[in-house]
Symmetry: C2
Subunit: 222 residues, 2 copies
């Protein structure tokens, strides 16, 4: 990895075009061809390009090309403060826990937190328009589709479950079909659309869910 600290000016042409007027930045050139340009603020690079790339240095100009997409990052070096290379070894991958998949597992263990008497029949049930998170039967035996959002549900989530319902309703044997969106929070537009479409919104407190399941199933403590 090359770590270049320099005053520079940058242009990007690709999916859009950007320009960055002269300023001091830290530029990382990775062995896989990726490039990241960090300015003095923010956690994310201000300019970047994913590998593989061809890096071409021509005096004070560095051109980074990604031939597959025709993107070009042009860096004009005005003043180099530091320029070092490091042989880095890192075989580790980032491990994530607490994602939607795990939330699904928790719900499957305790569907009652959504609604009393709810029974999970199938998980990730495939339809022509994509998979349904949960295909259930409610206490009265009515087919009930459940779409789960880990964060705030927006209108798109409601539309998603409506599409699923339309698909499922094509089978007369399954009708009527209820549709639920389960999320910790709902955007007002999501609520409005849900009301118009006959979709039910269920606010799910994840903390309550965690406490509701058996301790040995808890992946994290609260």
């Amino acid at each position: 990895m090359r770590v270049l600290v320099a005053r520079c000016e940058i242009a990007y042409e690709g999916r859009l075009q950007t320009r960055l007027a002269p300023g001091d930045r830290v530029l990382l050139f990775k062995d896989d061809g990726s490039v990241a340009v960090h300015n003095t603020r923010g956690a994310k690079p201000v300019n970047y390009m994913g590998g593989p790339t061809v890096v071409e240095e021509d005096g004070e100009i560095i051109r980074v090309r990604r031939s597959s997409s025709g993107e070009l990052l042009t860096i004009l070096l005005l003043d180099v403060h530091a320029d070092t290379r490091h042989a880095l070894e890192d075989g580790a991958a980032l491990e994530r826990e607490g994602r939607e998949l795990q939330l699904h597992a928790l719900i499957e263990q305790a569907p009652d937190v959504i609604e009393e008497g709810l029974l999970v029949v199938e998980r990730e049930r495939p339809t022509d328009v994509g998979p349904i998170d949960f295909f259930c039967r409610d206490a009265a035996g009515v087919a009930t589709l459940v779409e789960v959002k880990r964060v705030k549900a927006v209108a798109a989530a409601v539309e998603q479950v409506v599409r699923y319902r339309e698909q499922v309703e094509r089978d007369p044997a399954l009708r009527p079909v209820r549709a639920l969106v389960v999320a910790p929070e709902f955007a007002p537009q999501a609520r409005a659309l849900a009301a118009a479409r006959g979709v039910e919104c269920v606010v799910l407190d994840v903390g309550a869910l965690r406490r509701g399941v058996a301790p040995e199933l808890r992946l994290f403590d609260g």
Copy 2:
């Protein structure tokens, strides 16, 4: 800005939890409190935290806390390869061209690229279910809703414009109402849904659009 090159082990706790086993990384500590951790691959940081933060160094352990959200990034330094600080000055902001907003501006200048005789009546017209990109009249005077996507249109875009149409159709004076999605590309599901809903798909070549407008409106040449 502090640039630390080190073998380290990292844990993040916040909206979820992540762990990163030991490996060599480049860590950037910015003056605004932001932290970015780059591993050997990819353009984006593998771990990060936006400012403001409190950074606390305790021997070989660095803790980065964001009190507002209760997030914590813990870095265990195993071997420091380099540790430098740089006084950087950068007053520049990234200038972007080619965002959806600018695409709208271009369309407003030359609505004919969508359809001959189309007239833009209103832009960003608000409805209960969100704003319509363009409210138009076609050559025959029929109310025409236009939803623009800068990249490939998916089913959600079609559903969006269908919602708008439902809203607009509540006013009998405006009926009938056409609905268009304009994008450089359409996902098959988007086309299928559009056909089912009576929504028209218009493929828009951005290059043709640029050439269609007056040269002085072009910010970059092609």
